[in-house]
Symmetry: D5
Subunit: 91 residues, 10 copies
Amino acid sequence: MLYCVEMQVNIPASLDASRVEEIKAAEKAKAIEIQKSGKWPHLWRVVGKYSNISIFDVESNDELHQLLSSLPLFPYMTIQVTPLARHPSAI
Amino acid sequence: MLYCVEMQVNIPASLDASRVEEIKAAEKAKAIEIQKSGKWPHLWRVVGKYSNISIFDVESNDELHQLLSSLPLFPYMTIQVTPLARHPSAI
Amino acid sequence: MLYCVEMQVNIPASLDASRVEEIKAAEKAKAIEIQKSGKWPHLWRVVGKYSNISIFDVESNDELHQLLSSLPLFPYMTIQVTPLARHPSAI
Amino acid sequence: MLYCVEMQVNIPASLDASRVEEIKAAEKAKAIEIQKSGKWPHLWRVVGKYSNISIFDVESNDELHQLLSSLPLFPYMTIQVTPLARHPSAI
Amino acid sequence: MLYCVEMQVNIPASLDASRVEEIKAAEKAKAIEIQKSGKWPHLWRVVGKYSNISIFDVESNDELHQLLSSLPLFPYMTIQVTPLARHPSAI
Amino acid sequence: MLYCVEMQVNIPASLDASRVEEIKAAEKAKAIEIQKSGKWPHLWRVVGKYSNISIFDVESNDELHQLLSSLPLFPYMTIQVTPLARHPSAI
Amino acid sequence: MLYCVEMQVNIPASLDASRVEEIKAAEKAKAIEIQKSGKWPHLWRVVGKYSNISIFDVESNDELHQLLSSLPLFPYMTIQVTPLARHPSAI
Amino acid sequence: MLYCVEMQVNIPASLDASRVEEIKAAEKAKAIEIQKSGKWPHLWRVVGKYSNISIFDVESNDELHQLLSSLPLFPYMTIQVTPLARHPSAI
Amino acid sequence: MLYCVEMQVNIPASLDASRVEEIKAAEKAKAIEIQKSGKWPHLWRVVGKYSNISIFDVESNDELHQLLSSLPLFPYMTIQVTPLARHPSAI
Amino acid sequence: MLYCVEMQVNIPASLDASRVEEIKAAEKAKAIEIQKSGKWPHLWRVVGKYSNISIFDVESNDELHQLLSSLPLFPYMTIQVTPLARHPSAI
C-alpha cells in the first residue's frame, strides 16, 4: 500500500551544532535501513529545499506512523502524508 | 531528470457529458502512450480526489511542458510541478 | 485501518433541481449501504455547512478510494483524507 | 453533544528535556482520566504528525473548554474545534 | 450556550433576479422570527461585505445546525461557526 | 459604533513565568476596567484556544486602537478588527 | 475617521456586455459624486489588476457601509476594509 | 525600471471557442509588439500551467498598468506584480 | 510615482529592551525625516496592530527600496509593496 | 534550461552579529562566482524585502540544487523554484 510523504526539515537555530551532526548521521543510517527493507522505495530531494518527497510501501497506517516517528529528525520535521491508490490509466 | 507532478482535474459543469467522455478516453490513451515511452514512470490516484500524483522522467523543462500540455485534460487541470534531485541518503 | 474523511458538497447552481434530488436520494441510499457494511462507522454533519466528518474502517487505500468514488455525490465533493493510527494514550 | 477536535503539539525547543517528559507523562494520565469519564470517546494519532484527531462528548461549550484547557500540553497545542450535529443519513 | 457565526452570502449570477428577491424576503422574515425567539441575540453587518457576524444562543449543536439550515439563503452561504465559552475576565 | 475584535494570545516561551503572571493579572484588571466603562460590552473565550472574540463600542477608530494598545498583553497578541454596521434584518 | 478599502472587481462572464457597460458608467458617476463630497479622498488603481486601493473619510462604520453598498459594482466586488488610526510618528 | 509580472490565464468555459481563438491571436500579436518595443525583455512559460513569468522594463507604474491592461487576455488573467530593485551582489 | 506599503513590525522577544527603545527612537526620527522630504506623504496606524499602511511617492523602485531598507526597524518588519497607478475615475 | 528562483532570507535573531557578517560576505562572494560562471544570469532585489528573484540557467535539476545548497545563506533561506519553458509568443 503506497503513500506519498513530503518531509520538510526545520532544525531550530538553538540546537547545538555537534548535536545536529549526530542527529543527521543517525537519520541517514535509519533512512538507509528502512530503504533496504523495501518499505521506502523512493526518496527524492526537493530542489532548493531541505525537504524530500518519498514513496512508502507499507501494510497499514500504523506501520507508516511507526516508521516515520522512528526517524531521528522526526521531532524537527513537518510531514504531509497522502494516501495513494491504483490509477485506472496506470500501465 | 525527475519531477513530481500533481494534477487536479476540474471539469466545468457546463461541459457536455458526451464531450467529457470523449476527452477522458483520449486522456487515457495519451497517458498510456506517454507511460509506454518511459517518460511517465509512475502514476498514482490520490485517495478521495479526482487527482493524481505522478513522476515524470524527461530531458528538460521544455519536454515536460510539451508532454503535460499535450494531455487532452490539460485545459481542465490545475498542475503543480516540483523539480526533484538525487537525495544524499537514497540508496 | 481508520481514516478521517471530510467531505464538502458543492453542487453547481446549473444542475437541474430534479436531478439534484435524484442524486441526493441515491447518495443517501449508498451511504446507508456502506454504513451497514461496517466500513463507515461514523458519519457526522458539520454544524453550519453542507459537509460531513466521517470515519472509515477499510482494508486499504484502494478500498477507501473505491468506496468514496462510488458515492453519487463524489463528482460534486471536495474530500480531505487523513490516515489515522493508534494513539499511545488511547484506552 | 459531539465535537471533532484536532490538537497539534508544538513544544518549543527551549523547553528543558526533563520538563518535557514530566508534561508528557501528566498529559497521558489526564488523557486517560478524561477518556475513562466517557467524555473523550475517540482519540487517534494523525499519521506522520505529533497531532491527534479526537471526538469529545460533552454537555456544553464551556465543559469542552474546561476539559481542553486542563490538559498539561494545552499551552503548547494549536487546537481546532468543529461542532458536530446528527447527519440525516447516519444509521 | 453561545456561538459566533459568520455568514457570507454568494448568490450565483445565474439565479433569476425575481427568485433572488423572493429568497431575500423569505430570509429576512425567517431571520426576524429566529431573533424574536431569543436564539439569535445579535446580528451585525460586516462593513463592505454581503456578510454578517452573529451570536446564537441555543441548547445544542444540533439546534444550531437546524436553525442555520432553515435559513432560505443557507444553500448560498459559506458559514463559519465558532463555539464560545465564558471568559474568566468577563464581568 | 461597534467592532468585532478577535485577540489571539501568543506568549513567547522565553518570557519569565513570574513576569507572565504579572502581565496576566494586569491584563485582567485592565479588561475589567474597560468593560465597566461600557466600551467593551462582550468578551467571550474561543473554545480550545487562548483567544477571545469581543465586541467593542467606541466613538472612533482612534479610540479603539488606544484601548487595544493599552492592554498589557497587546505586545503578545495577534488582533483582527472587523468594523460592524447595523444589519437591515436586525430587530 | 479614515479607512483603507481595497475593492477587487469580478464581473461574471455570464453578464451581458451592454449591461456591464451601463454598470461601469454608473459606477464612475457614483465614484465621482462621492469623491466630490470629500468622503473618498484617495482612489488609486492597483497595477495589473481590476482593483483599487482607496481611502475613505467618514463619520462612522455605518456611513462607510452605506457608501460602499451604494456603488453599482458592489454586488461584483470583494471588498477588504481596514480601519486606520493616527500614527504616532506621522507629521 | 524592472518588474517581475506573473500572469495566470483563466478563460471561462462559457466563452465561445472561435472568440477564444481570436483573443489568443490578438494577444500573441500584442505580446510580440510590446516585446519589440523593448519594454517586455523576458517572457517565459511556467511549466505545467497556462501562466507566464515576465520581466517588464518601463518608466513608471502607470506605464506598466497601461501595457498590461492593453493585453487582449487582460480580463481573463490574474496578474501579480513585484517591483524589482538592483541587487547589491548582482554583477 | 505612488506605492501602497504595509509594514508589520515583529520584534523578537530575545531583543534587549533598551536596544528596542533605541531602535524605535531612531525609527521615529527617520520616519519624520522621510516624511519631511515629501516622499512619504501618508502614514497611518492599522487599528489593533503594530503595523502601518503608508503611501510613498518616489522616482523609482530603487529609490523606494533604498528608503525602506534605511528604516532602523527594517530587519524586524514584514513589508508588502503594491505599485499604484492613476485610477480612471479619480478626480 | 531556465528556472525562476525566489529566495527569502530569514536570519534567526539568536545568530551572533559577527557570524552574520561573515556569512553575508561569503554569500556575496559565492553569488558573484556563480554569476560569473553564466549559470545565474539574473539576480534582482524584491523591493521592501530581504528577498531576491533570480533566473538560473543550468543543465539539470541536480545542478540547480547543488548550486543553491552551496550558498552560505542556504540554511537561512526559504526558496521557491519554478521551472520555466520557452513561451510560444516570446521573440
